[in-house]
Subunit: 386 residues, 4 copies
């Protein structure tokens, strides 16, 4: 458990970092929602703030005056416990509250937390604050990917930032790491922060397996495209094939063929694809089809965790073969915080690792990310097993 | 035909007026599109500008340099002649070009027109300019109704302006005006501007009829609601009844019952309904059902035009029983301008009159407005006939 | 008004004719509903029977015992007056009542009517019976077109009947009939049966016009196809163009290009298109686009009616430019029968004439048929005007 | 491996049994498809026949003459390898081929198989035949559940059969069976037939757990309903809650409250719910919510298999917490048969056991059934674990 002082610093840094991410934006960029999975940046800024107000300041700070009571349904997400969401407007239709107002809201709540924690050292509150910080960090990653989606689907393809680093290259040779059959321990086991879905450290039995020491590269994936991978139904799940057909998928998200060469939208605008860099922006369906085509498979999340110390990771969220399910003896938290993870444990696939959009100190080797198998606006990648 | 000098003044006033309408907006309000019939204010500002650039400056001003070639698909609407629209993003997803950029675009094109018309006095160009001005005036009306929709569907119900006058009251007694059977002349017949759909002045034979000298008031419509009008399928068209059921319609758009009293969203925010004011924001379906309930009917557009000099009008667009069809000998204009009206002459109903949102000099007694029968975000109203 | 005896004969002939139409069917063909506009033949047989039971036998035959009370919601259509439809199953999902049961129902109700009218000579009941007969005749036309749709969309393309005549050829030369401007009388004006929508004979003023003495042929329409008519948006209404794009329309309904030659599904199965025969199975959108391409237009329903005695008609329902609207002083009938026509008077186009599927004595020159502008499973055709 | 002679008997019995299932049907019942997950009985009869024709007779019987080449796309399902499905008609729209024709097709193919296997004793062909038999048995279960759906959604609620036994009662006391942590062997391990998804017997490590010796009863589930379980979002997955809201789910499938008492549609028609019988026709979402409400959970498929010898099962397919995923070293079969199972291994949940609709010799303790979590037209049930 972090001491209150350094926790407050961690809080303030985190709050600031969300705003740094948004610095390159025009006000208009904060507002739009091109697809339902992407939220307007303004909403992320407000929602992360509302979380601190709703779960810490309102219940635990006796003299706290709510900033604006209407904000609780504007910035609520799925927390059905906290009251009925009155109006069915989609997030992307909400021009108000204005961006300026949202920044005022942020400053107000940040000040409220600062005041409360200057006076208070209760362990229970520290836990809540830590959850709030990590909640905001999760949204920082979404902020980056949602901004990329908003700008990358604008016909003007505007650049986001020339300093954002999204083309890491792994320079080592691809090789297979052999892992021996046996019982492995899986799940979180330290004093540090983790989510409820990582808890319940437990044994799993793994068979012999091999896992790649390197992510699949753009070059390798281009071979799959050129071999007609998107046209061979035998490589795909039935649902994956329907997804390919209905959406006429022919390449990873953001890829455009310009004058016969693959380009993709990046933080710097449209650029030629770097063939040595690890592939990104593929769905689970694509990851699976690629593995089928190569004659290999994706690792399970347990295989990934058991082997993770033997290869570098953290540039791409890596799709696993595992469905997102509760660990044995999983306990969901009481009240609204119990809605955080458990209610999503159906129909989703687990991703492990982290990505170029993951904020510092946010991921760890037991971290379980999860998305529906068709989604690909995160910085997702592929590691093979066999 | 207006002389070039006064036409230029008319042009400049019109350009300015669009921007005056937008003055109360936050930048965020310019961007969103809550439903497909409503366009973002930014788009209206750009699209009306693009019209002048595309149809006047590019073909007729030899030294004109296009502001930004990407804008032609961003701000095109239905003019399929002008080139394929490349990207399928909805208007409400486009955060760029920014509002600032759009205002720069406006200033640039306005200056281009000013320069061209200072040098040029061709009748042909004047006609194009006049069309462009009236096109922008049409969009001014839409700007106001779209802004109302954007703010009126925001859960915060922000006010637009305290000076906008949208509650006109007709103080005279309701009475029936008797009109005699016979041949009447319908359609435009003067030197002044009109649209192609008003042309082809022609004879129609009308039977004896009576038409009300007054619009239906809120009070009268509340009686319909309280008599259960929304629950009696026998008053509705089959399509109207489906619309009521599927959308659970129970009152005009923007109406909310608060503590047992009808309120509605107005330019000033949520206000008590003024029972003496003319009803607005009803669909054709509702207008028809109301007339059925009263034992009367809606006038045809010909009955309306023949009698229009005997009653005041211009506060509400008035639904007529007429379908939007070409007049005899209707000729659509050549090229892209031919797409202006004719291509919409199916499945829509004619509205006559004008409304509190109609800009000055924009409507006239031959003006034919048209919308699908379910729409009600315009300032629509009801005048009865029998 | 027909005397009761000959009316009973007319009734019995009509009842028999519906069953003759169904003779070529397999039991399976009675059940399916490939699209919402098409009803299962079984439903037509039951619904026309239910009409006699509901509106004549139940209210007017004191000792009549209802055949099966569940049938009133199974075979009801849009008559919302008669009681809430309890179960939302689509017609095409109802395997029961069986076809055998439906024929028993028909025989039972036919006998009931026969008994009632042998004893009863009231004018009022005769009127109801006459409506019921014409209602069944309307459904006979739908039976034929729905059967064609069911078989013509089956991949086996089974024949319906080798004796059904659906390829009439007009052998006379195409010419334009000139009609003079003036007042014409429109609407029904005799003792014979008509629907409420034809009543209210009234004057209309028509301008000078010319109308073709011949329907558009397959050959002429093939020229439109070959000239790229389906690819030229300037020929279409905006809604028509959307319909073409979304449904990838490239030819009339039932047309297939086989080895470079146009074939179409007919009652006899797949056959080569007879180029001299009048075109059929086009939507209003196609009719309009074709007329645009030729530089002509469609007639209004008034122009059609005023000129109808100068050309042969009755092989094709002919699309007109007119929207389906009430005539002046239109009165809808009281009670459930009032739902017959008036509630459809929005968003539809009028067709005039009749077709090869129209039963004898069913159409007349004042008859107003109506469908949505995208539909084309009726035997629709094109007559041009200018 | 079964010897050819007894295999042929097994084949003939199986073929006959499909037809016995359909004996109570009217011809009309064979044709309809009320929802996409349910297939018309006619299609099941044809598709299972096509399987033998396509995978055995056509490739392996040199003198075999195809019954009708059009049938290969009419009765194909998801086997994309075998050729493009030409026409997009839904199964429920196909009135032809007639039921009579389908029975002729069955007899023809059955005779073809009989002839081939009288001459041929190749092990390879026996394997294919065995797969075909089990494929037909799978469809027998679907036949029963699809027939129930077709009749149970007909407003007349016709009975299927008075002899079908669908109300088994478990008379023993509910108790918890304690299982010890350790390594268990999972998967098929005998000479008998199984599907590819059961192969790859492997070790799994299970924690200590307890599993109920009895299925949840109707009475227990009624308590959940009466306690407001369908209205408490905290008991449901987010997707489950959306499903409840959108479909207004308030009870298991086929349940109707009549005069204050729960009834359900059964093979005998509408009957009072037997409170002692095991619950059926619930979705995974409902099974999960019920378990949450009781404070327990569903077993994983591994827990189920490890404990299966200690309790009776086979009356209900039992939802497990496990997602449908490949076992370690899963190999899909070559060619079209490889499409059998593997392509569905995403987004589905595993069910274990069997049901009153499962044909004899069709299930076993390693059998893995799988459905999407919202489906409930199978005879699904709940067994709790903790």
């Amino acid at each position: 458990m972090i001491l209150t002082d350094s926790l407050l610093d961690f809080f303030l840094e985190t709050r600031k970092h969300s705003e740094i991410i948004c610095e390159p934006l025009e006000i208009e960029d904060y507002v739009v929602q091109p697809v339902v999975d992407v939220s307007p940046p303004k909403w992320h800024l407000g929602h992360t703030t509302w979380f601190f107000e709703e779960f810490i300041l309102k219940p635990h700070s006796p003299d706290y005056v709510q900033f604006d009571e209407d904000f609780s349904f504007v910035f609520n997400s799925y927390y059905e416990t906290v009251g009925k969401r009155v109006i069915r407007s989609d997030r992307g239709n909400l021009s108000r509250p204005s961006v300026k107002k949202v920044y005022e809201y942020r400053a107000y709540v940040t000040a409220g937390i600062k005041k409360l924690f200057s006076q208070n050292q209760e362990k229970n509150l520290n836990t809540l604050l830590e959850i709030g910080i990590h909640h905001e960090k999760q949204h920082q990653e979404l902020l980056l990917t949602d901004i990329k989606y908003i700008l990358g689907n604008n016909p003007l393809l505007p650049a986001y930032s020339n300093t954002f680093q999204d083309h890491p290259v792994e320079t080592h040779q691809q090789d297979w790491l052999g892992m021996q059959a046996g019982i492995y321990e899986i799940g979180h086991d330290s004093e540090e922060f983790c989510y409820d879905n990582e808890l319940g450290r437990h044994k799993v039995y793994l068979q012999d397996y091999e896992i790649s020491n390197k992510l699949v590269t753009n070059e390798e994936y281009i071979q799959f495209i050129e071999a007609g991978g998107y046209g061979r139904f035998d490589l795909w799940h039935a649902e994956g094939w329907d997804w390919v057909q209905q959406n006429q998928i022919q390449a990873p998200l953001y890829w455009h063929k310009v004058d016969g060469e693959w380009h993709h939208y990046t933080a710097k605008g449209l650029e030629k694809v770097n063939t040595h860099a690890p592939l990104t922006h593929v769905s689970y369906f694509e990851a699976f089809a690629y593995a089928q085509w190569k004659g290999f498979r994706l690792p399970t999340e347990f295989e990934w965790e058991a082997a993770q110390s033997f290869y570098p990771w953290g540039k791409r969220w890596e799709w696993t073969e595992s469905a997102y399910l509760p660990y044995p003896n999983y306990q969901k938290a009481d009240g609204a915080l119990g809605e955080y993870n458990g209610k999503f444990m159906v129909s989703q696939k687990v991703l492990r690792g982290g990505s170029v959009a993951t904020p510092e100190k946010h991921t760890r080797f037991t971290y379980r990310n999860f998305f529906h198998p068709n989604l690909r606006w995160q910085f997702t990648g592929i590691r093979l097993a066999r």
